[in-house]
């Protein structure tokens, strides 16, 4: 399938008073046309930094995208574009939905104008045309009484409604890529479900590719076609949603899956991954997860594992996949899932 966006060897550092924080350490992935790629990982794993760098929205004063990093979109390397050129990409070809709808709309501007703004800027719509289109968009995202509400200010809307408006802003110019940075995290569960349904429906309607950042695996199962698991500024495992949920290979993914609460599980305690995220001021020499990994081997502390191929769509960076590695028993929850996977390929939805 054709790739619309390719990230190659992305390295990003932040310069702080304490020193250089290597937040992103060689990230590679591609986004295929029409798919939803979920990026999951704990706080500080580099999910948001990766996506902000695609939009070139990182603060120039203290962040640095290293030489050799490539973000290829439409034949251009976005890292090398000038500010002016990048302005033409933002909001038009690539747009973004942010985490907190309560703070991501301008409180002193009517919502109609906020939706119309990118249309006037990128599509050279007249003010009237742009407002008509804004009204259409508000209907599309299911905002009640759009004719009157288009003239209201953000504080007159609830959180869920505001996120619908933010989605309308993001979709205004029919972007080829939509980046959703934890779009449901700040919403309560029922509204979350509504917003996820809305995004799935809209994706079919306007044929866009979505990068969906989240730390909620339940959401991933619901929306994603493929999943990339990030840890310590790297992607440690990538695969289709079934492969990640039912045949995970990386011990960190095992940890994530085991720590998901499950209705039919009969254990009393919820599994947690011990320890805390790695210090990216001085990244560990070997596998960044080694110190928290009970399956770690000596080599994990010395050498970084490369990406091992599991299938054409499934890769994982763990020495456990090396031919010489000993057989290990994954956690029980993972074993159960793997059993299901082998017994019946494609249990969840129809992927690809």
């Amino acid at each position: 399938m054709e790739s619309i966006l390719q990230v190659k060897n992305l390295n990003i550092s932040f310069n702080t008073y304490a020193g250089e924080v290597k937040a992103i350490r060689g990230v590679n992935f591609d986004l295929k046309k029409g798919e939803t790629l979920a990026i999951v990982g704990e706080s500080g794993s580099g999910k948001s930094v990766t996506t902000k760098s695609i939009m070139q929205l990182l603060p120039k004063s203290n962040s640095e995208i290293k030489q050799g990093s490539e973000i290829l979109f439409d034949g251009k390397n976005l890292v090398e574009l000038s500010d002016k050129e990048m302005e033409k990409v933002r909001g038009k070809d690539i747009s973004m939905i942010f985490q907190d709808p309560m703070t991501s709309l301008n409180p002193t501007m009517k919502i109609g104008k906020q939706i119309a703004e990118p249309l006037i800027k990128h599509q050279s719509f007249s003010r009237k045309q742009a407002m008509d289109r804004a009204l259409e968009l508000l209907k599309l995202v299911g905002l009640p009484q759009p004719e009157t509400r288009i003239h209201q200010y953000p504080h007159q809307f609830s959180g869920g409604q505001r996120q619908r408006i933010v989605i309308a802003v993001a979709l205004a110019c029919n972007p080829k890529v939509l980046i959703a940075d934890e779009p449901t995290t700040a919403l309560d569960v029922t509204i979350q479900a509504q917003i996820l349904d809305l995004m799935k429906n809209l994706q079919k309607k306007i044929d866009t590719s979505i990068i969906f950042i989240t730390h909620d695996l339940g959401v991933v199962a619901n929306v994603a076609d493929r999943v990339a698991v990030m840890y310590g500024g790297k992607i440690v495992e990538v695969g289709t949603v079934d492969e990640i949920f039912y045949n995970p290979q990386h011990p960190y993914t095992w940890g994530l899956i085991s720590s998901m609460p499950s209705i039919d599980a009969d254990d009393d305690e919820l599994f947690v991954i011990p320890g805390s995220p790695p210090d990216l001021l001085n990244p560990p020499k070997g596998d960044a997860f080694a110190l928290r990994n009970r399956y770690a081997m000596t080599i994990d502390l010395e050498e970084e594992p490369p990406m091992f191929k599991v299938s054409d769509t499934h890769y994982a960076a763990t020495w456990l996949l090396h031919p010489d590695a000993p057989e290990v028993e994954p956690p029980l929850a993972v074993q159960k899932r793997q059993h299901k996977f082998r017994g019946n390929n494609h249990t969840e939805g129809d992927v690809f």
Partner: protein, 309 residues
Amino acid sequence: MGKYLLQRILFMLLTLFIIISITFFLMKLIPGSPFAAAAKLSESQRAIMEAKYGLDQPLPIQYFRYMANVIQGDLGISFQFSNTPVTDLISGRIGPSAMLGLQAMIFGTIFGIFLGVIGALKQNTWIDSGSTLIAVLGKSIPSFVFAALLQYFIAVKLGWLPVAFWRGWEYSILPTIALSIFPISIAARFMRTEMIEVLSSDYIVLARAKGASSFEVAFKHALRNALIPVVTVLGPLAVSLMTGSLVVEKIFAIPGLGEQFVTSINVLDYPVIMGTTILFAALFIFIVLVVDVLYSIIDPRIRLSGGEN
């Protein structure tokens, strides 16, 4: 909105009444008599003068008489310029003061906001440091020192502008600059701080994500949100212009209210002191109302209570 304004105006009148009362009694605490300075008057002549102006009456009687007159719009007759009503004195002098104050306010806030915005946009560059330097100097140098420096360098040494007096618009330039240095520094500091805060907020990132240029981000999205605290200090600033003008008018020999006010206090011209105070107080109260209305115009989240919204 209408109901709210009505309520506010009633409270303004009450405030004004309290200010007038307090000023009246405070003024009477200043020792001496307005006619004591005129040495030529004999004891009995002075008694006649005091009786003529009602100054021989007990204080409460004087107060009630004065208040009754004020309510009817009569501010009394000046002692120093015999037979001239205070209202005439004030209206004859208010022109230059109002013009100076207004010019200084407009120039000061616009230039100050501009300095603050570019300071925030070019944070930690020499432009930012320059804007900070101007603001710190403006706040630490008193306006009369600045006025004297302007007179010496621009008027005397360079001869570009007149040193003093009030004979046309070019005479107002130096006093306006001297007066506006304080509003400039205040507006610049507040604007810079608030602008930096606003520029790092989520909706600014979203505006950039929509493809807005840094100019559009700063002026279409950030400026309006950053204005609120600046508007808040505009009220006290306006007062500082009024009081600052007392000294500046004196230095530039401008026939304004301030100059007259200072002279009146020196010779205990009670009616003129009272009249000018009432005017200043009324202006101040009015500005506070204007600031509150400005809030609701700038920020739609602020609705004036008492209205229908």
